[in-house]
């Protein structure tokens, strides 16, 4: 957690009203984008962002300040997005209590410079994935969770996480074939 976040969180816990609002200002874009990738809809993403910060505020007093805030906000947003998409089923439910570690990867991919049309294409491709695959892509690629943390978060065996991620990437590779070969 950054020093500013830690200080704001401590001030917020002491009852300073404006401190939490500053935290909202600092993190709302990241949280909104998590919801947008999951839901694919601007209005719904804004609703989930709002709900995320309210939910977090209500359990803020019991939050362990040694843990970083940003991943916690993002996980609440992911969970709320899943609930919204999956209101009647309970197949994907996040565990918000686990401690997250940095993901380890083999190689750091270079950042591709892509036009806004191409960005829309990537967003559409992600959003067209089934919810289960979209969730692992979100957690692995955008929230940098390791296989183990994804498995703990989704309460799934690690083998399922691996195969979901494999299928999700394969589907993305097909959907984004033109973009991948162009680059």
């Amino acid at each position: 957690m950054s020093d500013i976040d830690r200080e704001l969180a401590q001030r917020s816990k002491r009852g300073e009203k404006d401190a939490y609002c500053t935290l909202v200002e600092r993190h709302h874009v990241a949280v909104f984008n998590v919801a947008l990738r999951m839901l694919g809809n601007f209005d719904d993403a804004e609703d989930v962002t709002q709900e995320t910060f309210i939910r977090a505020y209500k359990s803020f007093l019991s939050y362990d300040l040694t843990r970083p805030l940003a991943p916690w906000f993002k996980k609440i947003a992911t969970n709320l997005s899943i609930n919204r998409l999956n209101a009647t089923k309970d197949t994907v439910q996040l565990n918000l209590d686990i401690q997250l570690k940095e993901a380890s990867g083999n190689a750091m991919p270079e950042i591709k410079t892509i036009t806004s049309e191409e960005q829309d294409q990537v967003r559409d491709a992600i959003h067209s994935l089934p919810l289960r695959y979209r969730t692992v892509i979100e957690l692995r690629h955008f929230q940098d969770l390791s296989y183990n943390d994804i498995a703990l978060t989704l309460k799934l065996p690690i083998s399922d996480v691996k195969s979901d991620l494999f299928r999700a990437r394969k589907m993305l590779a097909i959907k984004l074939k033109d973009l991948i070969t162009d680059k």
Binding site: T49, I54, I126, I137, I180
Partner: protein, 187 residues
């Protein structure tokens, strides 16, 4: 080595493949352009996702969230106010009821009767513990509170009204003190 599956290549890419399989796969990648392409494909997919820029939500979102947070904070303040009122009301009611000494004795004798019944061991132990705790409270607290002399002249409605007014005032004082202390913390 035969061509590895896309699943194996995924694990290789994520660095979760075991060491010996990784060595074997690396040797294979040196000689197999199609598998190398698959690794490249994964690399490009990741690159595309990392290259996604964050979109900005509408400018009314943050004020909307902040308004909601302020509402919750206000409601929390009211909850503290109501809690303070409830506590003070109970205390004042206990103080103003004229026959509270008599009531306390009645309750004590009821507890005695209860503990004298042939109850199962657990129920009896619980009953005795409750009685001891209650007697302690009665002797240490309730009976030591001086009787408010004028309360014996008040009717039940007047007692409730008086308690309500006093609780309201005390609750307001409590909230003012609370606000003042939170302002001091902020400074």
């Amino acid at each position: 080595m035969n061509h590895p599956t896309f699943e194996i290549i995924n694990e290789f890419y994520d660095g979760t493949l075991d060491l010996s399989s990784t060595d074997e796969l690396e040797r294979h990648l040196d000689i197999c352009p199609s598998c190398r392409n698959m690794v490249e494909e994964l690399h490009n997919i990741s690159g595309l996702m990392i290259g996604l820029e964050d979109l900005t939500p509408g400018c009314s979102l943050v004020p909307k969230i902040q308004t909601q947070i302020y509402r919750i904070q206000l409601w929390n303040g009211w909850k503290q106010f109501l809690l303070a009122q409830a506590i003070i009301s109970i205390f004042l009611l206990a103080l103003l009821v004229p026959n509270r000494v008599y009531m306390a004795r009645q309750i004590t004798s009821l507890m005695e009767e209860l503990s004298g019944l042939s109850l199962p061991i657990i129920a009896s132990t619980v009953s005795v513990s409750i009685r001891s705790a209650y007697e302690l409270i009665i002797s240490k607290l309730v009976l030591r509170i001086p009787v408010v002399s004028f309360s014996s002249h008040l009717g039940p409605g007047q007692i409730v009204l008086l308690t309500g007014i006093a609780a309201l005032l005390s609750g307001a004082v409590f909230i003012v003190l609370l606000r003042k202390s939170s302002l001091e913390v902020r400074r």
